[in-house]
Amino acid sequence: MKSEKLITDILIIGGGTAGCYAGLTIAKNSPGTKVIICEKANIKRSGCLASGVNALNAYITEGHTPQDYVDYARKDADEIVRGDLLLTMSERLNSVTERLEKLGLVILKDENGKYVTRGNRNLKINGENIKPILAKAVENLPNVRIMNHVNITDFSVEDNRIKGAYGFGTESGIFYTIQAKAVIIATGGASGLYKPNNAGFSRHKMWYSPFNTGAGYAMGIRAGAEMTTLEMRFIALRCKDTISPTGTLAQGVGAKQINSLGEVYENKYGLTTSQRVHGTVTENIEGRGPCYLRTEGITPEQDESLLKAYLNMSPSQTIKWIESGKNPSQQNVEIEGTEPYIVGGHTASGYWVDTKRATTINGLFASGDVAGGCPQKYVTGALAEGEISALSAIDYIKSEKTPDISNAEISEHLSETEKYFSDTSSLFTCEQLEEAMQTVMDSYAGGIKTNYRFNEKQLDLADEKISKLEKLAGNLHADDCHELMFIYELKERLTVCHSLIAHLKARKETRWHSFAENLDYPEKDNINFRCYINSRLENGSLKIIKRELVKENQIYEHSN
């Protein structure tokens, strides 16, 4: 591989929602600062917003305060959140929304020019083109270099201080070393750890971007960063088959969750995110499935609007309605839970950060789905965290010189990467090992197969089997740089699986049904587990750290 070294002030890894907004923030607040954004696809449609989104789900509506949003998220996660992070995010939700509107996003307004709200926290938008709008704004910035089709695989860290990162061009085949004074990690969460709802031809028809493979978590774990609350998995309740959003039906047209007997069951189990999934699972187990969102009887105008709304965010569902010859007013929409994901934009999984979004590695900041402690981010929360991490990075580099990455370190990483082109010893393909990993997680770590439930014995087996797969992954062969990316993605997922299993094992209680349902400890244990479960890799083994909850009105600061 041809090897190139680049030097910049701030490196942003991942050009999705948070990464793009971090770039915009740096350009606005510190125009002379040089920025590189590395994106493994193309920022125009990469990340979670590829097909669009039809509401901004995190906004402080009139009559509410940022603290109300903190309280809502805290309740939804049954206390295991960081109030300080939620508050600093919530305070910025409205200003980032206004900026997005100025960039060109269409937001529904009433005759007085005020935003029309959906429930207490949501705005209605036309978000089909939200990512191209964001990407175009970033493309116009003079000091921001966008490197599309560059896959970053590892940080360079010395004495717990970030020096930059390594990666390669998936099309160009160039090996890159990027030196930076500060790094913002914004690669998104991890999908593809578990066997998906439809494991065959439509295996990637999943809730979350299948291309978010946990790279940011894995790089951090390997570099010794402290991670938090990985055990709070996210399982989305979705329209069956198309795995399309249900919020537009539930909140938009008030569709209730009903079982096959037509009974509304959602009130029986509670209305938090995990309870809605748990209720649906339980109704199925007890023989009252399948479950639906009751859309029969809605008006023809609502039908027409729903067909359009889904085309603007998840076109498969509209196509499904049209192919069936029945609109939602004529047939209830069947729902199911997805496979579990690790995603800090919805739950509290990710890097252990302070209010500046500084990780425990000096000079490394985290934002969006990789940043922990701060759930219910949605689009605007990711933008807010992109802004906070960018402002923190600008501040950090004022007193920092660019650290040097030595030629010896570079050639070591280069040969590790190139090894996959020459190694022909493996009988297995990357795809086979990925399927094996998903089967292990599905069977032993609480996948769809076991109704998301697990016990300790199963987790031990999962850990053992994941370790074996990690060994096999080390000998895989790549013919080109796309296949090389597949290998790295698999390795990232295996690293995340290890940490996830350790976290699931450490929380010996069941606080969130479905998200972390431990059959050995089926009850909530507030005496021992009203705390954060954190972890850090030390001398090759994962150390679990229990940390006290950051109390209301307290702020946590790193003290290393």
């Binding site: 696809a41 269409v106 937001i107 439509s202 295996r203 291309f211 537009t248 909140q251 938009g252 196509i319």
Partner: protein, 103 residues
């Protein structure tokens, strides 16, 4: 879940290949093809990029797809979704990008 590319229509501009968030579409000589059809997320970014409607989206049979093919035509603020049914019927849905969703 995937796309079908009409190689007779494809002009080889590479726009679909460039935009795909999974980098799944490659150019084979002067025409685009989907190298990893099972890895498609169904985001429809590629069909919105194609200048000649050569890229069409369909639902896999495993998730209930019946074989309808979908493409979009963009005219000013209007994005026209064209669904060619397996039985020959055609459904069109026009969406004005300046109008918000109501739900």
């Amino acid at each position: 879940m995937s796309i079908a590319i009409d190689r007779n229509k494809c002009v080889g501009c590479g726009k679909c290949s460039e935009v795909c968030p999974g980098s799944l579409i490659k150019l084979d000589g002067k025409k685009a093809y989907i190298k990893y059809p099972k890895d498609c997320w169904g985001c429809t970014s590629c069909i919105k990029e194609c200048p000649v409607n050569a890229v069409k989206f369909f639902l896999g049979a495993d998730i209930g797809g019946m074989g309808s093919l979908v493409h979009t035509e963009s005219k000013g603020d209007i994005l026209n979704w064209v669904i060619e049914h397996y039985d020959g019927r055609v459904t069109e849905i026009q969406i004005n990008s300046k109008e918000s969703n109501k739900y």
